[in-house]
Symmetry: C2
Subunit: 151 residues, 2 copies
């Protein structure tokens, strides 16, 4: 298998995991500080998806760090398949959560114009961070999938 | 390049395009028959995304049919790259539209319990069809990406 910038066990891969974790963590923190966010299912789902992304990115980030420190290569078929499936599931969950929360934010902001009593700017910030998290985890997915397909 | 079941220019590929078009067309028809759907941005976006998916799937489906009838192979790098990018853009748009519409449907149905004056069952049907459309176009994307990566 080729070693690709950004694939598992490289400095690029570790950086991508770091950004994924950071964006997901900020999104989580912003959303849980909004009072009453839990009355909307989509916002609860966003929080759950961000927790899941934090855990996944942290776990694989630690594995990347270990591989870099010990000089091991994380390129066997089984491991790369695990990264592909895990990244796909996580990125799909994150994207679904970001889109549904974005739909509701646009509904409150544009369609109903009820930003006054709500916290539109915080919802928007949480959604934006979730989208950034999705972009970085999609990159990880593409690199892993490319490594798997081109072996 | 390997010829993969479901990739462009195969019977499997043509069938996938047919299902994509059908699901997107049903979703579009169900949504536009709901009076006042256009007052919600996410539902307008769903309609736009379904129109886009219909056009894309029809165009590539016709190309697949032509390739099958004339016995040509649609496997050169440039063409497969075009399929990969097009399928990715279309599937992302469809998924985003389905998720944001699903978020609003759940908000109306579960969180606000206002299904009475609204058309929850039709919203749900349109969203379900959009998700089915997304699954079939994702399959097309994976096959094209695999063909591109394994050349």
């Amino acid at each position: 298998m080729k070693d690709l910038i950004g694939s598992a066990g490289t400095v690029g891969g570790l950086l991508l995991r770091f950004f994924q974790f950071t964006f997901a963590f900020i999104s989580f923190c912003v959303m849980v500080t909004v009072p009453g966010f839990s009355s909307v299912t989509a916002f609860c789902y966003l929080v759950a998806a961000m927790v899941f992304q934090c855990m996944w990115s942290l776990a694989i980030g630690l594995l990347d760090g270990y591989a870099l420190l010990t000089g091991r290569r994380l390129q066997n078929s089984l491991l790369v398949s695990l990264f592909v499936v895990g990244d796909w599931v996580t990125s799909t969950m994150t994207f679904a959560a970001a889109c549904s929360a974005a739909g509701i934010t646009v509904l409150i902001d544009n369609d109903l114009s009820e930003c006054g009593p709500n916290h539109c700017s915080r919802f928007e910030a949480a959604v934006a961070m979730a989208f950034l998290g999705w972009i970085t985890i999609s990159l990880s997915f593409f690199f892993s999938f490319w490594v798997l397909a081109s072996r």
